[in-house]
């Protein structure tokens, strides 16, 4: 692979991950997720009272709103919200709280082009939603959904090996021949009582694909390879989320398996007052 990325990353490298549990006061759960500068904030309220018209007798109504950084939400926000509802539903047990409302609001913190959300921003929205649902803890879940963006570049001069890159930045996804987002549901089947080995990921199942290629080739493997790269990205995100969960409630952080990995993943812990102060600053900034 002779393809080099503008920011010097390897083809399968993500930008540093940011996982921050916002602890917004007026909602049940909230979290911020970012790939480098591509960030999204999500909040969850529920189960709460539902409008009579939207009430469902056998399960909770799941309402998702996506808001862009500037201007009013358009059809692209509605489309992403519908996708989010569809892809998060398999991870939630909505039938436990019938006749209630589960409200998820996702606020993009990155400017996006008017027509669409770039794949990495969509992935950040999905991951932030999963974190907020974990943070709320009020809705029973069957698993955690993690997503990653993938972009495809074709070299014109070199021998024709298309390069697939993970977590494309906005300029990369604009220039790429193809790009898309893949979301996976990570779920452990409760078969035995054996706990999972520390760094092992549970079985993942594809819940969302959104793949577009400009100049199509009839190469069957391309989609499968992009999907596999998306899965590899989603697995590292799942591990980062797992490491972040013990620090969610501002408890002293448990000894991490290795400090270097945590630093590499860029998890921001909020274990002491200093980082709490940072948190407040961040809130004002938003």
């Amino acid at each position: 692979m002779s393809f080099t990325r503008p920011d010097g990353r390897g083809n399968e490298d993500k930008r540093p991950l940011h996982i921050i549990y916002e602890r917004l006061d007026r909602v049940d759960g909230s979290a911020r997720f970012g790939f480098g500068d591509t960030k999204a904030l999500a909040s969850v309220s529920g189960p709460i009272e539902v409008r009579l018209a939207a009430e469902q007798p056998s399960k909770a109504t799941f309402d998702v709103t996506v808001r862009p950084l500037s201007s009013l939400p358009g059809t692209e926000s509605k489309a992403l919200a519908t996708s989010l509802r569809g892809l998060l539903s398999p991870s939630l047990i909505l039938s436990r709280n019938p006749r209630t409302l589960l409200q998820l609001v996702v606020q993009s913190l990155t400017p996006s082009p008017i027509e669409s959300y770039p794949p990495s921003l969509a992935a950040a929205c999905i991951n932030a939603s999963s974190l907020a649902l974990l943070n709320a803890g009020s809705i029973p879940m069957t698993g955690v959904v993690c997503a990653a963006g993938v972009a495809l570049f074709r070299s014109t001069t070199e021998e024709d090996i298309p390069a697939l890159v993970l977590d494309p930045s906005e300029s990369e996804s604009r220039e790429a021949v193809g790009c898309g987002c893949f979301a996976f549901l990570f779920r452990t089947e409760i078969a035995g009582s054996q706990p999972l080995p520390t760094n092992d990921t549970p079985g993942a199942r594809l819940v969302w694909t959104n793949w577009h290629v400009k100049d199509g080739t009839s190469d069957d493997g391309e989609l499968a390879r992009a999907q596999a790269l998306g899965l590899a990205g989603a697995e590292t995100i799942w591990r980062a989320i797992k490491q972040s969960v013990p620090q969610m409630d501002n408890l002293p952080p448990p000894p991490l398996p290795s400090r270097s990995t945590a630093g590499e993943l860029g998890i921001i812990t909020q274990s002491d007052e200093v980082s709490d102060q940072d948190m407040n600053d961040a809130k004002i900034e938003i």
Binding site: T75, E76, K78, A79, T82, S83, G86, L87, P90, E115, S116, G180, L185, R205, L206, V207, W208, T209, N210, W211, H212, V213, K214, D215, G216, T217, S218, D219, D220, E222, L223, A224, Q227
Partner: protein, 282 residues
């Protein structure tokens, strides 16, 4: 399986009532017999027919029937000033309406969320596939470009409107002719020829193939309106006329091989039937 004993004993329970009350069980029984409620096999498609040019007041139009699903699409061309950032590009504005007349699920009023999401999917598919290069709509850089309003309306909703609407939009664009236009810099006006008309230079003719996964295992091609709400997963594969993959969309739990299976099923359909869809429009 209290349900089974109940239906086993009461013989007068009408099939239609059973379908209304227990749609999932109704479909399950059909699937168990390897047939679908409308008589199709799991991978069988409904009949497709495409007519073009039926709306004489539009620049191009198409009427598509996919089984009982009917979508009509008209293309209206107007002249506008281009975007400052893209002075040589025109505009392509696809939109679909799901009016109350097309089915009992739809209510009159402003476009429903479903219609907006469908419009957005169609727009992003047509843009991402590069059906029409926007530079071809330029009349005079920075001053005048064509705006193509590609408006589709669903007349009868019987499932899989996305596939039908995409074919209708592409066929309508294929049918569209634009008058030769010249921009007069002195007067600042655009003049159109009355006689000379040119077709649009379309670069690819995509066709979408939608599948649904029922009960986690059964893949149903071209889901009908009755089947759609019962499906766990919906998968849309868009191929161009050469069989190249242009986009893949999927929502809901799917196994890794389901996607590749749907891609090959879509290619098979393209080989057997797909090439004829736009061929007669040449």
């Amino acid at each position: 399986m209290a349900l089974q004993t109940q239906t086993g004993t009461s013989t007068d329970l009408n099939a239609q009532i059973f379908q209304r009350l227990h749609p999932r069980a109704y479909l399950e029984r059909f699937i168990k017999e390897d047939i679908r409620p409308d008589g199709r096999e799991a991978t069988e498609w409904r009949d497709l027919s495409v007519h073009v040019g039926s709306i004489s007041t539009a620049n191009g139009s198409a009427l598509v029937r996919l089984g009982d699903t009917t979508v009509i699409c008209g293309v209206k061309a107007e002249i506008a000033e281009p975007d400052l950032e893209r002075p040589k590009e025109g505009f392509l504005v696809p939109n679909i309406d799901l009016p109350a007349l097309c089915g009992p699920r739809f209510k009159p009023g402003p476009p429903s969320e479903e219609a907006q999401v469908l419009s957005d999917r169609l727009a992003s598919t047509i843009t991402a596939a590069g059906v029409l290069p926007l530079s071809a709509l330029c009349i005079h850089p920075e001053r005048a470009v064509w705006v193509l309003y590609v408006d589709a309306t669903c007349i009868n909703y019987d499932g899989n409107v996305f596939d039908a609407a995409l074919i209708a939009m592409v066929a309508a664009l294929k049918n569209t002719t634009l008058p030769t236009a010249t921009f007069n810099e002195e007067t600042g006006r655009t003049m159109c020829s009355r006689k000379l008309r040119k077709p649009l230079p379309l670069e690819c003719l995509p066709v979408s193939y939608t599948f649904g996964v029922f009960d986690g295992t059964t893949v149903l091609a071209d889901p009908a309106a009755f089947e759609e709400p019962l499906l766990d997963t919906s998968i849309s594969i868009v191929l161009d006329e050469g069989g190249a993959l242009l986009s893949a969309g999927q929502l809901g739990i799917a196994d890794k091989d389901t996607m590749s299976m749907c891609v090959s099923a879509a290619k098979e359909r393209l080989e057997t039937y797909g090439r004829e869809i736009y061929a007669f429009l040449e």
